[in-house]
Amino acid sequence: MNFDFSDELKQLRDLARRFLAEHSSPSVVRSVLEGRDTYAADLWRAMAEMGWLGAAIPEQYGGAGLGYEGLCVLAEEIGRALAPVPFASSAYLASEAILLAGSETQKGRLLPMFADGSTIGCFALAEGSGNPHSGAVHARCVGGRLTGSKWPVTDGSIADLAVVVARDEAGEIALYVADLTASNVSRRSLSTVDPSRDHARIDFAGADVERLSGEAGWPMVLRLLERAAVLMAFEQVGGADASLEMARNYALERYAFGRPIGSFQAIKHKLADVYVATELARSNAFYGAWALSADAAELSLAAATARVSAIEAFHLASKENIQTHGGIGFTWDTDCHLYYRRSKQLALTLGSAPWWKDRLVQLLEMRNAG
């Protein structure tokens, strides 16, 4: 049994933690939250230089070839530091889409640009309200020209390229790469519950796009969501851990009734429950990491499980962190709300908890039938 990351990856994790503590400090997060920046561009460049953006991209396409476990380790630290960068959009979704559904030429051309950070990618699936559903995809590509509206698209106003889910002439679901700076594409930044991450509405009015020429169809979209769900679960676990640590530290330092509030059982037991939820989520994320890097048949169920646990853990940890802080936890200047906002941002992109729970049971039913 070796159900743990290797020593090299643990070193990478420690390095990433130290680096992000300095370069993705709360003031960096706030500069995006408060609208002074659209994302942390310096941090993004540094991440590119360290090879993080192409962590899971094979070396032949300009990546670092660290594999998915490497990407998971980084994701946890990025989540812990609330890094305000388009990492998930570019590395888990756009790059992955090209790896999975692109032709050899497309991979050779596009992946090195994502790996070196010169191009930011995003993933455009949603068209307004509702969870992922093939019937909700109305965007359509006819004769290489895409028409439709996508919103919200995470990192949509800072990305250069989008991988867009749309229907082809035959009405089948396919993936298209769109240059977001091209004509017939208009974008509008959206205000959201988590302004520390960019979101946009993108309107395509007959924009020139390129079809990813490999595998297509709705199952491909689900595969992408699944893989991203595992990586995002690590971000969520990192965020939950950071929220718990913040609550614990405050509980030790804040006094009421002549004693630290952390000596009251109502607080102790609350934080014990947060710990339990976070550890369960971490363990499920580990299994997801294994399934992802082994490309195991269990990946679908493992991903759904990891996502369900991770959403629950980060939500619980971030809301109870505010509660533990009392009034000061409700202020703009205290960082509690940064985690609370991010927990919802991560919970809503890629499909929300009810959708994943339903999917988890579908997968269980399929497994039991098969």
């Binding site: 049994m1 000596s263 580990f286 294994w290 039913e365």
Partner: protein, 409 residues
Amino acid sequence: MDFNDTPEEAKFRAEARAFLAANAEPKGRARPVLRGGLDVEAVKRCKSWQAKKADAGFAGITWPKRFGGREASAIFHVIYLQEEDNYAVPRGLFEIGLGMCIPTMMAYADGEQLDRYVRPALRGEEVWCQLFSEPAGGSDLAALRTRAERDGDDWIINGQKIWTSGAHLSDFGIIVVRTDPNVPKHEGLTFFFLDMKSPGIEIRPIHQMSGASHFNEVFFTDVRVPDAQRLGAVGQGWKVSLTTLMNERLAVGEVHRPDVEDLVELARSLVVDGASAIRNAAVRERIAEWYARTQGLTFTRFRTMTALSRGQTPGPENSIHKLVNASKLQDIASYGLDLMGAAGLVMDDDLALYYAMFQQALLSSPSGRIAGGSDEILRNIIAERVLGLPADIRVDKNKPFNQVPTGPR
């Protein structure tokens, strides 16, 4: 990251599998083995299985070779339990003795005593029980009142223990008693082992809410115990008790039924609002949540195994298993009955679904949240020992025990 055994672990696993395949019945999911009281026949089955297991070298895996153990690391014990879990082997008689009593003996008894007691316990010839809890001392174990007074080379014990699992089936017991009420509670305790057939011991079964009688009240009237059976110094009983309780922690998660898979089966077979219950969104959400929790525990255990396999010792973070499992069992049982509607009340064997497994679990599951450290105590352990939050304030801390306020019991 992988789930593979090391070559040495794989070899051991293969041996364990071969032993089990040759000597035990594989466990089908169809009719779960439910834990009730042990009758005479069940006791016999437990004992003969234990002897077989010990003779084959699969009992006391971490124990010294001189007592019939393997001197192997804890990971091998866990591997064996994993394999054994696939078989319907008789259980429920030796867990406390081998898991807690004998390890305490090994830490404190002398060589001659160990030669006398360890092997018979390992082979299941002698059963041990743990006489800790009292009416006035459960979570607050150190508040116990059973007295022992010195009389020459002996001690005389008077008082009462309660909730003693298997006392009625036991040959020996470990006991912690008060030898000095004039000092603060933790300082006045002393630890012994004793013969459960000693004159003056009276064992009365307790009728549990589940209907079974698995634990007992044990009364002591002038029970004589030789000083040679003292474990640890006079006044050091608390320290010895902690050794016993430490061993409680590695209790490896037994699979409890009904589990989430049972709930899936149930939901498939039931109709809610004219459609199969498994199609109902609310039902699906609950199943998904319990499945995620179940898997989370499984993989937390794998992480623990990884640590064990690297030679680390299990710590307070292991409290997570019982804390999550006990409530999950209670909640799944209750929810399963909700799905059955009024028929969920019925326990008749011919009418109840799944052999009344959900109903029985409803009635037995409250114990899991109390025995071996209540939910609240486990949360305290996680908060204090894992997260480093302050200990509860103790109003009895430096007071002599006989001046500490108590309730009417």
